[in-house]
């Protein structure tokens, strides 16, 4: 058994080299290159006081609000059986992948005149985008809390409020910490939402970095600001990691199936109310987009969808090709993210290489424009002349997807009762067999969720992808930008139609991922 343990440890050590190399080569090296170029160059550095403070507090407020509004929906989706539950679970992820400029402009048209700019629209948009993280990550965990826990608490005389406080929240803590960290990082580095809904007088570190790097070409200022931002993100990730380890003791989940009930009596009203509120809050902006995509010049129709099959000056390829490109890139990126993130999670859950866990989170906090420019200068020489290679697109997507895979899989792995593993070992199972027969089946469900998120992130084209040059390979979000950048009804209509295509692809991917993960139940 000892020899067995040593060889597993060795294999894990070797395997950890892969994510380390991936992150080192495609994140640390390019970002380091552009930071070094910036810091050694000349340029003025003027740190606007207030920018850092605004970045931090709006992200904190966005996180609190997203948790507050997301948890009720997570509860409903996790505990109750209702018609269309699978659809709601998939639909909630759709806002997450839509290009920010599409959502922000949809918000502008929905909000009353005079209320269109300011902190409230920013917070509302951040909740709209990120509520998926809370609903799916916390909800996924919630669904598996063993009902005996509540029964035991109830037997001991605990009322609903007390059960929530003493049982549910402590057990949910790892998932809450993971979701909160991800929402915070996304809000902290929010770009399009702040530019459009904040108006020209509000800026975050991310928008300042963009301004300095992409507009003023002041790489020195951009590099200094990037370091400040990375420092903040490092601190956040460090704190979140510590929290995560503190609360990782809760291991009371029922992995074998969801524990769903039908709402009864007063509960029905509450559940219906929460679902109704979600339908309005999340559905209204999406419905506005669908409506726009169907309102052709001569009345409602599919004109704009048909136009996606025709050549247009806005793109070098026929628009529907962008959908194929997006699917192909997303598939490759998801594969990369699952391999890299899966290994990190396996190591981290056994408390090895925890630095790698935090390292893997950093790409979420890197400025997209700086990473994009980093790719250009880092990969400019053979044997690594990759700057205009289409390979960089899924690589950049995977960098953003890996933190999700790690967070989702780590909390799933940690939640497995160690006694199960011990029991198997006592019965003579090898370590490899324990992993195969205990860990793997238990995390398969989370694996589906991780794959779904990775795919959605790649479809949504977050981060540096926008700055990766691609010749004849536009993705759907890129195609949407191109159409939005031109006047005329047809261009606006095709942008809306493509947004709906993106929504549909996301829904399909999430439904498939849920089926993949939940398939065991049927067996």
């Amino acid at each position: 058994m000892d020899r067995n343990g040593a060889s597993v440890r060795l294999a894990l050590g070797a395997a950890v080299a892969l994510p380390g190399a991936f992150l080192g080569l495609f994140f640390a090296y390019p970002l380091g290159s552009i930071l070094a170029r910036g810091l050694t160059g000349d340029g003025s550095v003027e740190l606007r006081p207030g920018v850092l403070w605004f970045s931090v507090w709006q992200a904190g407020a966005s996180t609190a609000l997203t948790l507050a509004l997301g948890l009720p929906l997570a509860w409903v989706v996790a505990r109750f059986d209702f018609p269309g539950r699978a659809l709601v679970r998939a639909l909630v992820v759709v806002p997450f992948v839509l290009p920010t400029v599409v959502v922000a402009t949809a918000f502008l048209t929905l909000l009353p005149e005079g209320q269109q700019r300011g902190i409230l629209p920013i917070l509302a948009a951040h909740v709209f985008f990120n509520v998926a993280i809370v609903v799916r990550i916390v909800g996924g965990y919630w669904a598996r809390i063993h009902p005996r826990l509540w029964e035991a608490a109830a037997t001991l005389g605990a009322g609903p409020a007390s059960r929530l406080r003493t049982v549910t929240l402590p057990v949910l803590a790892p998932a809450l910490a993971a979701a909160a960290a991800l929402v915070f990082l996304f809000s902290f580095t929010s770009f399009g939402v702040v530019l459009i809904l904040g108006g020209p007088t509000r800026s975050t570190l991310e928008t300042e970095i963009y301004y300095q790097a992409a507009r003023m070409f002041d790489l020195r200022a951009a590099a200094v600001l990037s370091l400040v931002q990375l420092g903040c993100v490092g601190a956040i990730v460090g704190v979140a990691g510590r929290l995560d380890r503190c609360v990782a003791g809760a291991r009371m989940v029922a992995p074998e199936s969801d524990v769903l009930v039908r709402a009864q009596g007063r509960q029905r009203v509450v559940v219906a109310g929460i679902l109704g509120a979600a339908a309005v809050g999340l559905g209204a902006p999406l419905a506005a987009l669908v409506e726009r995509s169907l309102s052709a010049p001569g009345g409602y129709g599919l004109t704009f969808y048909r136009a996606l099959g025709e050549e247009t000056p806005a793109l070098l390829v026929v628009p529907w090709r962008a959908a194929l490109n997006s699917l192909a890139f997303a598939a490759v990126a998801t594969g990369m993210a699952l391999v890299v993130g899966g290994i990190v999670a396996a190591a981290v859950a056994r408390s090895r290489a925890t630095w790698l866990d935090q390292f893997a989170m950093l790409p979420l906090g890197a400025s997209a424009v700086m990473l994009g420019y980093g790719f250009v200068i880092a990969f400019d020489d053979p044997p690594l002349d990759l700057r205009s290679s289409p390979l960089l697109v899924p690589v950049a997507q995977a960098l953003v997807a890996v933190p999700f895979v790690v967070r989702i899989l780590t909390s799933a792995l940690r939640s497995i009762d160690e006694r199960l593993r011990d029991a198997a070992a006592v019965l003579g199972a090898s370590r490899a067999r324990v992993i195969r027969e205990i860990d793997l089946p238990l995390v398969l469900r989370s694996f589906g969720l991780a794959a779904g998120f990775a795919f959605a992130i790649s479809l949504g084209d977050f981060g540096a992808t926008v700055f990766v040059a691609r010749s004849d390979w536009p993705t759907v979000p890129v195609a949407i930008f191109r159409f939005l950048g031109r006047p005329g009804a047809e261009n606006a209509g095709e942008a809306a139609a493509l947004s709906v295509v993106l929504m549909t692809m996301t829904m399909a991917a999430m439904l498939a991922a849920d089926r993949l993960g939940g398939g065991r139940r049927g067996l």
Partner: protein, 344 residues
């Protein structure tokens, strides 16, 4: 480990291929607004015997900065899309190698911006105030005719402009006001616009498609916007139905000229191919296509304009202009002053 190997193989394959392609392909590095029809692209490939590969990344400013990062060891052979407002940055960054195409004598001298021929003009477009004809007709107010009109009380809350710190048309419009009112007067003009409740957006997309009332399908409430001289023609061309008159008009006296230039990248792997491509961009075939592919005007004399342009676009006779070196020396300072005047 197998996957690591696979990755290494992919990486090796990805870069191994580029070496032998150099003589048979030419790479155009450009911004997202570049467009070319398949027909014209094939014509170039047939005539030159080269495959044309197009690398697009970001808007004009983002693409230029990306190219500057690789000056001397470029990603491609030709860069297209630097304009007169950013020209000094490209030239200071030693981005281009000189090349003088034969067809230069077919161009008006006003477009030739560099004596050393490091850049070649390809198209021009004018950034102008656009107005919503329907709005002004139904409110029985005469549309604005000059920049100064917009400071009058009857135009209060009617104008939306782009932030010059974040938007290319925003920069051009700020330069228009500098050209019109001079170094002494332009900030006072913006103070008065600010008092008249000008709305500032981050980019053209929000200003035109969301805030401007004249764009197709827009719920915007502002009937005057900073856009292009060709935007009314685009509204007609992309309307999806027949329009007798463009829904929007242009304030002729507010226009600032943007000339878009191309250049052979210094250190281009295929310099000869690059020259062929620059020549092609001045050819009648390519020039005739720029109006409907990029909604700009050809620089070559005698190239016929398409009907939708003749009818609905405004050919600006006397645009506002500033010398490129004055723009280069002062642009960043003007943007800072603009920010202090309008936003703080």
């Amino acid at each position: 480990m197998k996957r690591l190997l696979a990755l290494a193989v992919v990486v090796a394959a990805g870069c191994g291929g580029s070496g032998d392609k150099k003589a048979t392909e030419v790479v155009l590095v450009t911004h997202d607004s570049f467009a070319i029809s398949k027909r014209v692209e094939r014509a170039f490939e047939r005539e030159s015997g080269l495959r044309l590969r197009i690398l697009q990344s970001g808007d004009a400013g983002e693409a230029l900065n990306r190219a500057l990062l690789t000056a001397g060891n470029p990603e491609g052979d030709v860069f297209f899309g630097v304009d007169n407002n950013l020209l000094s940055r490209a030239l200071d960054g030693k981005l281009f190698a000189p090349y003088k195409p034969k067809a230069l004598d077919r161009l008006d001298d006003q477009f030739l911006l560099d004596d050393r021929h490091r850049v070649t003009p390809v198209d021009h477009g004018e950034v102008c105030l656009n107005f919503d004809r329907g709005w002004f007709a139904s409110h029985r107010i005469a549309p604005p005719r000059t920049l100064l009109d917009l400071t009058r009380p009857r135009f209060r809350k009617l104008l939306v402009v782009e932030n010059p710190a974040t938007s290319t048309p925003g920069v051009a419009f700020m330069l228009a006001t500098v050209a019109q009112f001079g170094e002494q007067g332009w900030r006072r003009y913006w103070e008065r616009l600010r008092k008249n409740d000008v709305l500032v957006t981050d980019g053209w997309e929000e200003a035109y498609t969301v805030r401007f009332s004249g764009a197709a399908g827009s719920k915007g409430r502002r009937p005057v916007v900073v856009s292009y001289a060709s935007s009314p023609a685009a509204e007609v061309f992309f309307a999806g139905r027949k329009l007798a008159e463009a829904p929007t008009g242009v304030v002729d006296s507010s226009c600032f000229r943007q000339v878009e230039l191309a250049g052979v990248l210094r250190g281009a792997p295929n310099e000869e191919g690059a020259r062929k491509l620059v020549d092609f961009m001045l050819s009648p075939r390519f020039q005739a296509e720029v109006p409907l592919s990029m909604f700009v005007f050809p620089v070559r004399r005698g190239v016929p304009l398409p009907e939708v342009f003749r009818k609905h676009a405004i050919v600006v006779q006397k645009p506002l202009e500033l010398p490129p070196n004055a723009i280069g020396a002062n642009r960043d300072r003007w943007i800072r002053e603009w920010t202090a005047t309008v936003l703080r």
